[in-house]
């Protein structure tokens, strides 16, 4: 249920502008990897290339390869839609579908693709996914209410439940807690800890404490200046990055000297 990701020499372009340059990174299966770095350093952009979500923006393209257990996401004949059903994503702001109930939101990935699913299977999937997202006990009595009626933290866990309902190999999270209050953030962080037993989790965060708390490995991204492409500066075990980084700029960043 979980696969590793290997990125080889990846460049990301918006039109003629190179946003991210020469990234090489190996992300282990069943682990939590955090991407940290100052604003605009390309960490979110890079995250999006891991399930080809960047293609939604006009003019975005990549060079290089991203291997999911040895299979290139950008190989010929690969359909981005298939990629995204194997690599799920959770966004910065919770975005449950406003026209759907909580239950339908969880089933969205299945139903929107028009797959036939029996009622009992659907019920089981809803319960399993919501339980997996630590939300089942809070919403089990109001599954038919609109998902937008939940609190921000609950909505975000609903979005995670929605992502894991399609049983992906990898879950990408783009600053999943930045729009949430501290208590909801804690709930999400606990959830991430549990998710890694089954999934490969990659999380972008602005919050260094969060990266230190939840991740096994941390990657630090930086830019030389505005208009320059973002680069992967350092990638190592999380304790090493925070306590004993090998690069000067990493040390400056994690000790709060800039960013």
């Amino acid at each position: 249920m979980s696969k590793r990701i290997d990125v080889n020499d990846l460049n990301v372009y918006y039109g003629n502008f190179r946003a991210v340059e020469g990234v090489n990174i190996n992300i282990e299966a069943r682990s939590v990897t955090a991407f940290i770095g100052p604003s605009g350093c390309g960490k979110s952009t890079f995250l999006r290339t891991l399930n080809r979500m960047h293609e939604v923006l006009p003019g975005a393209r990549v060079e290089g390869e991203v291997l999911l257990d040895g299979e290139n996401l950008y190989g010929p004949g690969v359909d981005p839609v298939t990629v995204r059903s194997q690599i799920g994503m959770v966004f910065q702001r919770p975005n449950p579908f406003p026209t759907m109930s909580i239950r339908d939101n969880v089933l969205a990935g299945v139903k929107l693709n028009n797959k036939r699913i029996s009622k009992s299977d659907a019920d089981a999937l809803v319960e399993k996914s919501l339980t997996g997202a630590n939300l089942w006990n809070e919403v089990k009595d109001r599954l038919d209410k609109p998902g937008s009626g939940l609190s921000g933290g609950q909505q975000q866990r609903l979005c995670i439940a929605r992502a894991i309902a399609v049983s992906p190999q990898v879950i990408l999270m783009d600053e999943p807690c930045s729009a949430l209050d501290p208590i909801s953030t804690l709930a999400i962080e606990d959830l991430i800890e549990e998710l890694k037993t089954e999934y490969t989790v990659v999380i972008v965060t602005h919050n260094m404490q969060q990266a230190a708390r939840v991740s096994d490995k941390t990657a630090f991204f930086n830019i030389a200046g505005t208009g320059k492409p973002g680069k992967l500066i350092e990638y190592n075990d999380t304790p090493t990055i925070f306590n004993n980084p090998s690069e000067k700029s990493t040390e400056d960043y994690v000790s709060g000297r800039f960013g």
Binding site: N51, V56, V81, M89, F91, N95, T99, L112, S148
Partner: protein, 371 residues
């Protein structure tokens, strides 16, 4: 600190914040004076209520300006003048609009009988109307054929316009990336919005005339003419509604491995559906009252025609037009006028109802956002 600030002006007795200000009653005094003076002036040239109101208003605006100028200064006077002009504009605008509605109600209500609603003008000749007037019996004949025609023609126009308009909006918002084609479509949709309705009628008449021979007039030709007017409205309102669907929802759907077309059909359109539906309803309300294009495309008959693809058809607006311009009995026009005004009232009711429905749809089916 604040204590001293409030205490300083008190020895002056007169508050500096209220000096050079007209008392509240002054403006009422000016109004009363203007009314009296207005009455005097208007009686000089023959007293009339409208004249009285007009002269009083002019005097009031000028006097208000002068009085304020003398006490409060030029800036305040200009402000007063502008305010009065704006109030005046509002009242002036209200007069004809109230008059229109009053006329329609006053003249239309007596004609709103079941006879009017459920019979056509088939067999109604000037002789019938003359007898009605001579014997004082209720007016015979009605607009049933017009109601049928209106419903059928509007139905076909909607059937043509909604799919085309909706899909075009989907193309513009979801697929095009600002290329020349999409800019072209946007531009020509704008051009279409400005097409005079009679020209749309001429186009449909010319089109069908070319294919089926000159003077082909059926309900469907009229529906095509109305579609030309309706499509741009549908495109515009749908486009607006699709644009305000947050991109996050599209991304959430893509990230679940859902294809673009399914995302559009199952996520984007349902989120915007209330706005789209209300836009379509407003578009229907706009074309249902069109008269000019129907005159040149659907012709005019007195009998009921249920077939939009053959034979001439009457709609409510053309019914009103014909009854007023060519009364059934040229010597006794009252029965025709009564039928026309009843039809006008019915038409306005339909349009208002559609507007109301549009609002209710927009409110009821709007996706529940927030908490």
């Amino acid at each position: 600190m604040s204590q001293t600030a409030t205490r300083t002006p008190s020895p002056l007795r007169k508050n500096t914040l209220t000096k050079n200000q007209l008392p509240k009653w002054a403006i009422w005094a000016v109004l009363a004076g203007s009314l009296v003076l207005g009455a005097a002036v208007s009686s000089l040239i023959g007293f009339h209520v409208v004249g009285w109101a007009l002269f009083s208003a002019v005097i009031f605006v000028i006097a208000g300006f002068l009085v304020t100028l003398s006490v409060e200064g030029e800036r305040k006077a200009k402000d007063r003048f502008a305010s009065n002009m704006i109030y005046a504009a509002f009242i002036v605008a209200l007069v004809p609009l109230v008059s229109v509605i009053w006329t329609v109600l006053e003249k239309g209500l007596p004609g709103m009988t079941s006879n009017f609603l459920f019979t056509s003008m088939n067999g109604m000749t000037g002789v019938v109307d003359n007898e009605t007037v001579e014997n004082g019996t209720p007016v015979l004949g009605g607009a049933y054929h017009g109601i049928v025609g209106t419903v059928l023609i509007t139905f076909w126009a909607t059937v043509i316009s909604v799919p085309v308009g909706l899909l075009t909006a989907v193309y513009l918002v979801e697929y095009s990336r600002g290329g020349p084609l999409s800019r072209g479509i946007t531009f020509f949709v704008d051009v279409m919005t400005g097409i005079p309705s009679i020209v749309a009628g001429l186009f449909a008449a010319a089109l069908f005339g070319l294919i089926f021979g000159p003077s082909t007039r059926t309900g469907f030709v009229a529906a095509v003419a109305l579609s030309v007017l309706m499509i741009p409205v549908v495109v515009r309102s749908t486009e607006e509604m699709l644009k305000i669907v947050p991109n996050e929802l599209r991304e959430a759907s893509y990230a679940l491995g859902v294809r673009k077309w399914r995302t559009i059909i199952k996520v984007v359109v349902p989120t915007a559906i209330s706005g789209i539906a209300s836009g379509v309803t407003l578009a229907i309300a706009r074309v249902i009252g069109e008269t000019a294009p129907l005159l040149v495309t659907a012709g005019f008959v007195n009998s009921i025609n249920f077939n939009a693809f053959a034979g001439w058809m009457t709609t409510l607006p053309t019914f009103i037009y014909r009854q007023l311009m060519n009364p059934t009995s040229p010597t006794n026009i009252d029965p025709s006028a009564q039928r026309a005004w009843a039809a006008a009232l019915l038409l306005i009711l339909i349009v208002m109802l559609l507007n109301l429905i549009a609002r209710v749809i927009a409110r009821l089916f709007a996706p529940k956002t927030g908490r």
